[in-house]
């Protein structure tokens, strides 16, 4: 599937920011055999004094920019065409949990895709007894790693209320879980914590989701959103499998990948400290238009 994607993020400050340095992870990833970027333009207003393209430890593309002069507003505008062709996973064969542990231990590398990065605590996801208890109810004797991924996504989709007003970008997984509400970021963080607690290496994926309007309705312009889901390592044979707990489905061509990491902090779209006292307002609009 080919998509035209338009993403606009803008920040308005009460007081002009004197300087700022930001790390942006907005560009869709180029992933061999999964996704290719046909064309892409990232326009930034006002123009930054410094702008450098780089890639991070996990192989994500990032743009670092810096301002040295006062500015009251920043707008990031990304326009791109992406060819998404998620491979058909067929039947996913994965070991049961005790065997999965052995398969993880047999991996002798710390390369970016190694499961060893995705088992311990990460900046935003730490061990949580209450989520371990939740997982314990879901897990069945002899369950395979992939079955657990499916079962957890299903359980969370059933038990959690999707509520954009309930949480913010800084809400901890524990808090969102206690309220059983949140957005895709919270769903993903909670599922990651549950999986890691059960010994399944799990990470975070940021991206876009094609939304399909209700029957007979037009697609609303700008109404799409950035999205997040989970990737889990389901053994040496299956490798990484991506799953969307917010929508309870296996990730396929409707999901366009931007970046992959341990949790949100590794992939947050705009990072950066502002030397300003005033409050800031963020606006975001996303259009994901399928071209077929």
């Amino acid at each position: 599937m080919i998509y035209d994607i338009d993403l606009k993020i803008s920040y308005d400050y009460d007081q002009p920011a004197n300087a700022g340095r930001h790390l942006l992870r907005l560009k869709p990833a180029t992933l061999a055999g999964e996704q290719s970027v046909v064309s892409m333009v990232l326009n930034i207003e006002p123009e930054a004094e410094e702008r450098v393209d780089k890639s991070d430890f996990f192989g994500n593309e990032a743009v670092e920019i810096a301002y040295r002069s006062p500015h009251k507003k920043i707008v990031f505008d990304l326009k791109c065409r992406v060819d998404r062709h998620a491979p058909d996973r067929g039947v996913i064969v994965s070991p049961d949990l005790p065997r999965l542990g052995g398969e993880v231990a047999a991996i002798n590398t710390l390369a970016p895709d190694s499961p060893h990065h995705f088992l311990g605590r990460s900046p935003r996801v730490r061990p949580a007894p209450e989520m371990d208890a939740y997982t314990e109810v879901v897990v069945r004797e002899g369950m395979t790693a992939f079955k657990l991924v499916q079962a957890l996504a299903e359980a969370l989709h059933r038990d959690m209320k999707f509520d954009p007003k309930a949480t913010t970008v800084d809400t901890s997984p524990e808090e969102a879980f206690a309220g059983r509400h949140g957005v895709c970021q919270d769903f993903a963080h909670i599922m990651i914590a549950c999986l890691r607690g059960a010994g399944v290496p799990a990470g975070y994926v940021s991206g876009f989701l094609r939304t399909i309007p209700p029957k007979g309705k037009q697609r609303l312009s700008g109404a799409d959103a950035m999205h997040a889901w989970v990737r889990a390592w389901c053994g040496a044979e299956a490798g990484w499998v991506e799953y969307d707990p917010t929508n309870n489905l296996l990730v396929a061509d409707d999901h366009i990948v931007i970046a992959r990491g341990r949790d949100y902090s590794d992939v947050s779209p705009v990072k950066g400290v502002l030397r300003t006292a005033g409050s800031q307002v963020t606006k975001q609009s996303v259009d994901v238009i399928p071209l077929g």
């Binding site: 300087a19 340095r21 930001h22 790390l23 410094e50 450098v52 991070d56 430890f57 996990f58 670092e64 810096a66 040295r68 993880v104 231990a105 991996i107 002798n108 590398t109 710390l110 190694s114 060893h116 990065h117 088992l119 311990g120 605590r121 900046p123 902090s265 947050s268 990072k271 950066g272 400290v273």
Partner: protein, 800 residues
Amino acid sequence: MSPQSKRWGEAGARSLDSYKPLAGVADELVDASGSVRPVWRKFIDHFQRLPADEITLRFARGDQYLRDAGVYFRQYGKAGSAERDWPLSHIPVLIHENEWKQISEGLVQRAELLESVVADLYGPNRLVAEGHLPPSLIGMSKEWLRPLVGVHPRSGHYLSFIAFEIGRGPDGNWWVLGDRTQAPSGAGFALENRIATARVFSEFYPAANVYRLAGFFQTFRDALRGLRGSTEDQVAILTPGLWNDTYFEHAYIARYLGLMLLEGEDLTVEKGRVMVRTVAGLAPVSVLWSRLDASYADPLELDERSRLGTPGIVDAIRRANLTMVNALGSGVLETRALLAFLPRIQALKGEPLKLSNIATWWCGQETEREHVRANIKRMMVGPALSTRPPFEPDGRTVLGGRFEQETLQTVDSYLDTDGAMLVGQEAVTLSTTPAFVNGELVPRPMSIRVFLARTSNGWQVMPGGYARIGRTEDATAIAMQRGGSVADVWVVSDFPVEAVTMLPPDGATYRRSESGVLPSRAADNLYWLGRYVERAEDIMRLLRAYHMRLAETANSNAPLLRLLEDHLQTFDVLDMEECVPESLRATIASAIHSASQVRDRFSIDGWSALNDLAKTARQMVDTARPGDDAARAMSVLLRKITGFSGLVHENMYRSVGWRFLSMGRSLERALTMTSALEKFLDSKAPEGALDLAVEIGDSSMTHRSRYAVASNRKTVIDLLALDAQNPRSVLYHLAELREHAEQLATVLAKHQLSVFSHTVRVAHADLAAGSPETLDSAGLQTLGQSIETLSDVLSSEYLT
């Protein structure tokens, strides 16, 4: 004569009968047969001859030095943090140089080993690939910083300044208890312990053949300078700031080595270069000796919550424009579980460890876990990823098969469920060393932190160290956490040692290279220190004037008193019943706060004077009574605060920093004088207000000698606003400011005209052309505004 006294010494010396080392524990002072070891003999002989009251006196002398130097210990408790007296155990630990040489060789070997391990972990990762290190352990460590993977340090080395915690086991051999590779503290404290201990034993120390510490620091400073990209670049110490428990040490070392002390906010990154904001603009920094936890160094690429770091610093390192000492991420070597693997990794090099580390088993491996289980009685089990030494347990700890804290879980199931997160370590017993407790020497367990610096000639070991002394005789390592004291370590030679100081050989005093390298934040603190001190003095003068008149009239409703009360309100003095008002103490506290952030550029005497002032003011709160008593109290405080000003004026080097301090003082004085004149010279002001203005301006005598007439508005304005010779007048201080501004513009090589310099020249010229007639109420108000403007211009030109 008993055999004991024969052994312990001659007539006049106290016996060591009461010194009884524990069975099964090595002792530093005496050997297994009970004889004093040769290295201690002279010292013990000297000490045991000192009369008891002399010992008390000498110990007090050492403690006094530490207090005067401002060495304290910050303790964090439930009620926040508190400063406590530095817990010096005055008896040093003595080690013979031959033994020290062996220790040093072992530690240098270990330093090389650690360098090769960290280079591999951030480089090719062969140790993991070849099965010598478990990947899960590294993958789970929060000290393994992924953004630094593949980044080769521009100096070629990851480690340049490290420390090892060592202790002596029951068999007499030394053990490494832990590796400190991130930002080891204690070297500065070791220096202070040395100075204090040398004072306690002032006759004995000079001839005791004890290796000096200065050479080590000197060599390391030179090594740091050698790492610069260009000789124009700055070398600085990066500190988390005032609230860090070892901030004193950062400031102390910065002052001692003549390096800048910076915080993250002093720095900015431009095109991959790290720059410090100074009063002369941005200056490049290419070497940072960091005392900050690595993950806080850059909120953009590392811990995003950090407010202590500098965005972009990782990128500067990646572009090989900055050397961090040590390289960011070196802290991963402190991971406790690594101790289980290091001996084997060293053995791969074909040479075993010269100095063993404490036996450690990672419970993430089945064989090792079962070994720990089978030998649980002589094990300490704790978190595998902890980066603290064994005697600083964190998390749940199992000792001798039992949990330290109450828990429902059994040790067996803990090993099963949490194995990968646990290590078992042999519960080591440390050697004991003498401490002076309740009038006698008693054995106390100790461990030593030893410091190593990389220099152009390879690793150098500081000949000495930072010893920790246990509070009780319990010699298990874990007991060290519960309070205790610290001691100096003397490495003793059989022959006289070379005396080294930080002074260069030609005898000229070493001086921080000046001109323009003053960080803006430091300048800001000095400027505000000047302002706060001046403001405090002004409040004191006003209060003294108030209470003197109150004592005369006993009527707080007298017009003049009401006028003073009204004027004091502009300084937030709201309750005249309060003799030492809250706002005065708060102003002094603000001065101290400013001073505490520039401790590295500030004399110890000045610091003591300020703290003494604050203490006296605090004590007076409960005792001072309105009227005569409060007036006298203010006189005492005024003497103390002018004592501080005198110290600054007489003793401080005429540096750029001194100019900012002086400008703060002049600006505040000009401002408060102008506002006092506005108030007291108002046409509606009651009788006596003119004399009051002269008194507050501390110019009563001058007025009498200069003017034959009684005070009138003209004479007062003339003396306090327009007299260029009166150090209390507004014009005098504008002239001072003009002079400072011009000097600054010259020193800082401002080629174009400095805006501040221009503004202050105009303000000065305007006032100099003024007369008592032009300085009416409106004229004074305009003057006050123009002085306020000066402060703003100064701030925007130099301080931000």
